[in-house]
Each structure stands twice: as structure tokens, then as C-alpha cells.
Amino acid sequence: MKTTESRTARAAGKASASLSSSLSSSLSSSAASPLSPREGAAVELRNVVKYYASQRALNGVNLSMAPGEFIALLGPSGCGKTTVLRALSGLESVSEGRIEIDGHDVVNTPVNKRDIGMVFQAYSLFPHMTVTQNVEFGLRMRKVDAAGRRRRASEALDMVGLGAFGDRYAHQLSGGQQQRVALARALVTRPRVLLLDEPLSALDAKVRVQLRDEIRRIQTDLGITTLFVTHDQEEALAVADRVAVMREGNIEQIGTPEDLYTRPATSFVATFIGLSNTLDAELVGSEVQVLNAALPLLGTGPADGAVTAYIRPEDVSFASTGIPATVVASSFLGSLRRTQVRLDSGELLFVQHDVQLRPESGERVHVQLLGRPVAVDARA
């Protein structure tokens, strides 16, 4: 399995070819199959700032992507994740900072010269063209001959499982099929960077999961550096090598999905990624005193004193003795169950437990904190 570190090392060791040569190789590679793996590009965003009138949308964003890496930009609406993606694509200019693809600043390179593939949130197939013509469009712009276009479009459509749909128009396809065609269209030119702007958000849940996994499979096969924008944390955690959590124009934390979940750097990440119980606590040295328990501190904390502790539902369990509580509600989540209890001291707490255990609303129970490290934040 490829690790992030190995990818980064590969990026550092890679001789940086010029962007123009990479473009020309892409343009002239009519003989190459869109299915053949290709080295993705290293991407670097340095102190990227973007203003919309007086509104500062990006506050000096820094992001490094190793060749072939799959990074998800995750954050609430309006946090700037789509602006980052559009700045990288060239669809949006930047006010300050550098954007490098394979070591070359592309800030002043127009979008059609950046050698990127892009899939949009809205269905973006050209309605007056058939599926095949849509997929051939990028090749036509690169002056690939008709036979080459036809062959590569056919291979790209086979890759997304729509080889038999070449003669159809966009309105004859489902939403999921349209996004598959859009993916094939973006990949057929063998771009060095693939940008996905919430491509699954318009799809129903089942199709979304299928297409999500398919995107990951294809990306792994082709080795294209990919930036995936989403507001769905499950989606981000499931497919990305690394996830960058954004908030108010800043990248709050970037790391592997496991890192973000188990070692959130800020209270925002702790509450945004997964579910956390927020409890008043006291920090004494490296010990967090909460609900009469002393838990180890996760990472570094603020100064000693009153803090807010973020405890995952799976770090709380039912016990025969412990903190007395009353069951408020219980939800079946498939492979597990999550129950909300109200402590006698008034706090509400989520407990994640085995699906076999079925607490009834109003039932008296006892809960206890498992002694796992806990993230804290200075109390406002």
C-alpha cells in the first residue's frame, strides 16, 4: 500500500519537468490509452489569498499534494473549499500567492492550458452532443485525429462502464450515468490533475457510494493527483489519502482520515469530524478531569484551568456502576447503536454501543468514560 510519506518522497525526488512539456506530451499522446497509469503532478498552493470585493474568501491557504495523491477538501458551506479548487483550476483568479503544478507557477496560466480534468457538481454534459462526442471534446480541442478520438473515447467509456451508451444524449441518462460520463470526459485527455467539485452531491445515496468507490478505484489505477471537494465527511474519509478540513478560508487541519478522527488539532475539527460529546472539564497538566474521571490529554492543550473536552461516543460505555443517567433516545445505525442519555447532573451524552443492547427511553442506566485520550479546547 502506498503511503502519503512515500508519495511525498516520490514528489521530492521527481525531476520537475516543465509544465509546457507536460502539456505537449499530453496533447501528443494520442497513442496512449486513457487507462494506462500516468504519473500525476505535484501540486503546491502557497499562501493563496482570494478576495471577493472586500470579502476575504481564502486566508493564505497552503496545501501540498504529492503526485498521485488523493486529497479531499472538507468543510461547511462557504468555508472556501470550492474557491481553492477553482483557483487551482484557473476558473478563479487569486489575489495573492502561488499555485504550482510540477514546480511551475500557473497563476497566470489560463484554465484551458493547465492540463487539468474537472468534474462539476452540476451536470455539465453538453446537451447537444452525444455521450461519445462529449468524451471526444477534450481530444478534439487537442487536435487528436478522428480514429484516435474514437478509440480513446471508447476506452474511457468502458472504464466507467458506459461503453454501450455512446450514442445517447445527456437527457437520456440518469444522474449517476451523467457524472460517470463527465468523469470519462475529464480523464480521457489524461490530465495531470483531476479536480472533483462535489460530483456526488446531486446523486441519491446508493449511487453516491457506488460512484465514490469507482472514482477511488479509477484514481488509484491511473495515479492522477486528485483534489476532491465535498461537504460530506463520510465521503471524504472513505476515499481520500488525506483530508484537509477548511474553515473560514483557512485549512484548519490536514491529515489522514484516522489522524483527523483520533487526533483532531482543534475543537472545530473535533466537532466537525464525527460526533463528539462536548463537556466542561478541568485541565491539570496533562490530565483532563471530567465527570469525576481523569483522562489523558490528547496532543497539546491550552493553559491549565477550565476547558471544553470533546469525547467520542465510542469512548463512553454502559456499565453496571458509574455515572447514573436516564436514556433519552436510541438510534439503530446498522452495525451499531447510538443512545443519548441525560446524566443526573444534566449533561446530554451520546453512547455508542453494540447493536444487541437496546435501551428503552426513560430507562435508568450507568455510564462510564473509557480512559482514552481526550481533545480539549480553552473554554470561551
Partner: protein, 294 residues
């Protein structure tokens, strides 16, 4: 379950479906939708109001003098008298109107269309202002516009001469509301921004985006705008008359004084032509809808 009970259920099922509101057999009628009878009455009354003057014109054009008989003498006379040069002013008016049509359509395609696309893609905040400007001419009576045009045309005549086609500059303003609307409706129906961004990301230059992506998707709106422009130009009288230009409409008025039959015949032809244009526009619109229908 017995065989008889199964077949009874099968027989009953379609009848239940038919009686359910919203089933395939009966289209539900909503409060705002008129009944079929009301629709036919409206269509019938409107049709009669339209058809009576046209039929009267046709009947008039077929009369032979005061004898009470009918024939095609007046139609034949157009060609015989036309050869003698009797209706030269009318034919010249038609030619002038065609020239004005061509220049006006060119103004719509070269000025209005690119402006609308540019506003949609780059300056969406100006959409309201552009719409306001384009709608203004419909609120100002032609006679008022003409008063403003007269001094302007003294300059136009110095630059371009006083050829009939220069009337297109004035008519171009008159047709703005009619040309704007179908293109705007088409732009609103197509995700122009997303499509152009997709095309750009695939390596297309702005020229390619315009030619290969945007214009094909605006085809029905553009053609509708062109046809409506032609219909408006062919029907325009006030400006041509006050600016002393010979067009189809002014020529019709002139000819009417000497030969009312021929004037009516050409008026019928013009109506039929406009009717065919509207049919073509309707057909193009439905083609566009069918293609976009999900």
C-alpha cells in the same frame, strides 16, 4: 386462493386504477387549469377573431369589379402590370425591407447576442440593467422615437448616405425587446456558465466555447429572435414613413390609393409569411424542449 378469486382480482385492478384520480387513464385537473371545453371556446373565439379579417381580405382580393363574381384577375394582374412597372414602388419596398431585415438581424447577432452572452458569463449582476435597457423601446411609442431619430438620422445620412438599409439602425432599437426575450429564455434554460467552464477545463479556447458549446445550445433562441425581428421589420411603418423611406409597409399604403386589391393581396401574403415564421419558431422551441427533456 382459488383460480376464480385470482381472476376476479385481476379484472378488478384496472377498474380501480381507472377510477383513481391521477391514474394513467384520467389526467387530473388542477384549479388553475381550464377544462377542455373552456379551452376550445377560448381557442374558437380567438381563432374567429383572427380569421374573419383574413377571410375578408381574401374575399376582397378575389372580387372582380362590382359584378359580384370572383376570380384571380387581381392576382394575375400583379405579374402583367408588374412587367409594365406599375408596382415598381411595391417591389422596391419589398427589396428595401429585405435589406433592412438582413442588417437588423445582423445587429441582433453581432451586438445583442454577444452582449447577452458576455453578461451571462462574466457580469451576471448587469443582467437586470441589460433587460431594462432592452425592454425600454416597447414602452415608448414609435412616433416619439421617430421624433428623436430625425436629428440622429441627419448624421447617419451624412455618414452612410440616405439608403433604405440605414433604417435598420432605428428598427434595431425597436426590435430589442422582441429579440431579447427568446434569447434570454434560452440562456436561462441552459447552464451556460457550467457548460463553458467545463469546455474551458477541457482545453477549449473562448472561441471554441462560443462556437461549439454556447451557440449550438442557444440555437432555438437565436432563430426565434431572428424570425421575430424579420416579422417586426416587415410590419414596421411609422419610422419608415416619417424618415421618408420606401419599405414594404409604406409601399403598401401608396399602392392602396391606386389599387386596393393588390395592396390587400400583398397584405395577405405578409400575414401568411408571418404565420409560417411563427410556426417555425414554435417548431424550433419544441425541438429544444424535447432535447432537454429529462
Amino acid at each position: 386462493m382459488s383460480a376464480s378469486s385470482v381472476s376476479a382480482a385481476e379484472v378488478r385492478a384496472p377498474r380501480l386504477a381507472a377510477s383513481r384520480p391521477g391514474s394513467a387513464q384520467k389526467t387530473p385537473r388542477y384549479a388553475a387549469a381550464p377544462s377542455r371545453l373552456t379551452r376550445w371556446i377560448i381557442l374558437g373565439v380567438t381563432g374567429v377573431l383572427f380569421i374573419i379579417p383574413i377571410l375578408a381580405m381574401i374575399e376582397f382580393s378575389l372580387r372582380v369589379g362590382q359584378t359580384g363574381t370572383y376570380g384571380f384577375e387581381h392576382y394575375a394582374a400583379i405579374f402583367t402590370a408588374g412587367q409594365a412597372g406599375t408596382y415598381d414602388v411595391l417591389f422596391q419596398g419589398i427589396l428595401n425591407s429585405i435589406g433592412i431585415c438582413i442588417v437588423t438581424v445582423a445587429i441582433v447577432l453581432v451586438l445583442l447576442l454577444p452582449t447577452m452572452i458576455l453578461v451571462e458569463l462574466k457580469y451576471p449582476k448587469l443582467r437586470g440593467a441589460l433587460e431594462f435597457i432592452c425592454i425600454i423601446p416597447i414602452t415608448i411609442p414609435s412616433i416619439v422615437l421617430v421624433v428623436g431619430f430625425i436629428p440622429v438620422y441627419s448624421v447617419v445620412a451624412r455618414i452612410f448616405g440616405s439608403n433604405a438599409w440605414t433604417l435598420a439602425f432605428a428598427v434595431g432599437i425597436i426590435v430589442l425587446p422582441y429579440a431579447y426575450r427568446p434569447i434570454a429564455a434560452n440562456l436561462a434554460a441552459v447552464e451556460v456558465v457550467t457548460l463553458s467552464e467545463a469546455a474551458r477545463s477541457l482545453g477549449a479556447s473562448w472561441g471554441h466555447v462560443l462556437w461549439r458549446v454556447i451557440l449550438p445550445n442557444l440555437r432555438s433562441g437565436i432563430l426565434s429572435a431572428c424570425f421575430i425581428t424579420i416579422a417586426v421589420v416587415l410590419g414596421e411603418y411609422t419610422i419608415a414613413s416619417f424618415l421618408s423611406q420606401n419599405t414594404f409597409q409604406t409601399a403598401l399604403v401608396l399602392v392602396q390609393h391606386t389599387d386596393p386589391y393588390v395592396a390587400v393581396i400583398f397584405a395577405v401574403f405578409a400575414l401568411v409569411f408571418a404565420f409560417i415564421l411563427l410556426l417555425v419558431i414554435g417548431r424550433l422551441g419544441s425541438l429544444g424542449r424535447n432535447r432537454r427533456a429529462a
